[in-house]
């Protein structure tokens, strides 16, 4: 499949898998044996198997990537068996939803610290723009969006190269989160309604937009997706409520 058509289909399908829809789960059950939570409410009846990215009830793929804030390598499944994992896919020059997705993780990180379970959950934002996203930019981006980047549970992963980012984040054998550089390369960030802070927006010639699927995954400690929030950044209280419900399911 050509890259563009893959991106288009990924974007479209992610739109269908909207979390938090009004319509009740028309599937009539359809819960997964591998999850605590029941199936998400969806506007349309979608089989998770038809979604490109790991969706409700599916396992997440295993990739080992550098975690530059902690100077070691971390696997996306490293904490399977021990903790819930929350993943999202961002780039720090993003003026769109990436700061909001990161802020939602940061808000959840704060709730975990307050709730005394900081060492029972792990947060893994993954950049798909490693050429730009150095360790310093990753740290700054984390901080301005409210996270504690020094915490052991904040593992911001950075694929070694753009090619590796494609394989891990973008490919169908990876997380299948479609992304590609926007037409023209220097897309404006001005009016997106849910944007946050663009890192170094005035850096001439360094602005870059990616068109990408928005996805935030809540993965249980058995390594299965409980919730795949897409296409809009999820409300932080919903993420926290879902996470705590999953935790209770293991008690």
């Amino acid at each position: 499949m050509q890259r563009r058509s893959f991106l288009t289909s990924a974007a479209f399908l992610s739109g269908i898998a909207v979390a938090g829809c009004v319509g009740s789960g028309a599937e009539g059950g359809g819960g997964s044996e591998d999850t605590v939570l029941g199936p998400p409410d969806r506007e349309y009846d979608v089989d998770p198997a038809d979604l490109a990215y790991p969706a409700y009830g599916q396992p997440i793929p295993d990739f080992t990537l550098p975690s530059p804030l902690h100077d070691r390598a971390v696997s996306t499944r490293e904490y399977v068996g021990e903790r819930e994992t929350l993943l999202t896919f961002v780039f720090t020059r993003c003026g769109g939803p990436c700061p909001a997705q990161t802020a939602a993780l940061a808000r959840t990180q704060a709730a975990a610290a307050e709730g005394g379970y900081a060492d029972e959950v792990v947060f893994m934002p993954i950049t798909f723009d490693p050429a730009y996203d150095t360790a310093g930019r990753i740290r700054e981006f984390s901080e301005i969006n409210g996270a504690d980047p020094t915490a052991a549970n904040w593992q911001f992963l950075r694929p070694e190269t753009p090619e590796r980012a494609k394989a891990v984040v973008g490919s169908e054998s990876g997380f299948a989160v479609g992304f590609e550089e926007a037409e023209g390369g220097h897309g404006g960030h001005g009016g997106s309604p849910d944007q946050g802070e663009v890192l170094e927006p005035e850096a001439a010639g360094e602005e870059q937009s990616f068109v990408h699927t928005n996805l935030l995954l809540l993965v249980n400690r058995d390594g299965f997706v409980e919730r795949a929030y897409s296409p809009q950044p999820p409300r932080p209280d919903i993420v926290i409520t879902d996470l705590e419900a999953v935790r209770e399911g293991y008690e």
Partner: protein, 169 residues
């Protein structure tokens, strides 16, 4: 999820950086139940619980985050509306993560730089975020004197649009 949101989501994906306006939820005839947020000490205002919306006068609520550049740009528009708005409850609330790298003092600093002469608060328990279905910032809500929502929008707003919203409250 209403169809409009669904379409907006797709649109937003297709035009990252574009000027999409996302309408959030339908106006309803129901009054909103008041929520409690944590007012913070900024510009000499006392810290403490703050209930909103008040009954008996309109309310203009803005939800923001200190990391949000659009919020920074929108705030002067809200200030301009405040200056001739008459008897209206203005309140601004952040629902960002507080207590890690962003502190209450950071919010107060941000507010002293960009905010207006009205209370600023933190949605400590995300009660307001849930009640008003805040999915992105900035998010602006106008309620009439009986606490019914007459305007409920995400994104950058002009003073003119906000004045129109208040005129309908």
């Amino acid at each position: 999820m209403r169809r409009r949101d669904f379409l907006a989501g797709i649109g937003g994906l297709a035009v990252v950086g574009g000027g999409a306006v996302v309408a959030t939820r339908s106006q309803t005839d129901e009054s909103v139940e008041p929520v409690t947020v944590e007012r913070i000490d900024a510009d000499g205002d006392p810290a403490g619980d703050l209930r909103l919306p008040e009954r008996g006068r309109p309310t203009l609520l803005t939800v923001f985050a200190t990391w949000c550049s659009v919020c920074r740009r929108t705030m002067p528009e809200v200030v301009a509306v405040h200056d001739d708005a008459g008897d209206t409850q203005f309140v601004s609330v952040t629902n960002e993560a507080i207590g890690q790298t962003t502190t209450r003092a950071d919010v107060a600093d941000w507010w002293e730089s960009y905010g207006g002469p009205w209370p600023v608060a933190v949605d400590t328990d995300l009660e307001l975020t849930a009640a008003f279905d805040v999915r992105a910032v900035p998010h602006t809500v106008v309620l009439d004197s009986t606490n019914r929502i007459v305007y409920d929008e995400q994104g950058e707003k002009s003073a003119a649009e906000l004045r129109d919203a208040l005129a309908s409250a």
